[in-house]
Symmetry: C2
Subunit: 135 residues, 2 copies
DNA sequence: CCGCATTTGTACGTATGTATG
DNA sequence: TCATACATACGTACAAATGCG
């Protein structure tokens, strides 16, 4: 599979699809490192911008994680703690602010769950580690 | 307020904070257009990269929306439909795939709620238009 | 309806900073 | 110490969507 620079589909989207396919096929299992940006760019003959945008796209979907100086890897799904939505409570979901993401140590592409109990007290939970249940 | 290129805080984060402050102060009310990328770059004496990254950051938090050829504007919060989490059901949250985002017409920075009922049937709801409740 | 200015999107380049191992 | 890899930030150019005259 190659990339067509003249396609109506942007180069970076094409690359993201290729990498996604490699992940779903098992070629890149959970936890495994992605090729470096430089390597992907060379392999597919595309610029660094396109490579970085492709990885950013996958990161925004919670598919991969990246850290500086280390690289990107296929993100493993956390075990989800079961949290009961108690009577009279409500929950909304949203993306965290930069500050919340830092303080709660959330990866990119991870939403938060905001639970409000009948007293009006609010709890914010990491969206990738939580399952809301009603027994 | 100005931007310090030699700060340990990246230029684009500084700009995002400035724009966020203008929004929260009411200077940029809901629905109002942000200055164009070119204008922001000129005003603060920074490159287009930094401007685009700042706006992308706010977009990823669901604060603003952008459309090609038009510009960015302060995103209005949707009215949230109250959805009851029925007995025996559970809910998880995650970011949508590109395809889901397209098909459900979701803005960037909007998660989805996946509800599974006791029969195992799954419903996917837009995270910015839904409030889960338990009466 | 057409053309034009504006605006964002994509894609390339370079350079330098910083974290990792 | 050093090579590697990503992060930030500047530049350029052209494509594509929008809206207005």
């Amino acid at each position: 599979m190659t990339i067509n620079p003249r396609s109506h589909t942007p180069v970076y989207v094409q690359l993201a699809e290729l990498v996604r396919a490699r992940i779903e096929s098992g070629d890149l299992p959970v936890g495994s490192p992605l090729p470096s940006e430089a390597r992907l760019g060379q392999e597919y003959g595309i610029g660094r911008d396109a490579v970085r945008m492709a990885i950013a796209l996958l990161r925004s979907e919670g598919v991969v994680s990246t850290s500086k100086g280390h690289g990107s890897w296929v993100r493993e799904q956390h075990e989800r703690a079961k949290v009961e939505l108690t009577s009279g409570s409500s929950a909304i979901v949203r993306m965290p602010s930069s500050r919340e993401r830092r303080e709660m140590d959330l990866d990119e592409g991870v939403p938060v769950i905001e639970i409000r109990n009948p007293k009006g007290e609010v709890t914010v939970l990491p969206g990738d580690q939580t399952e809301l249940i009603r027994p």
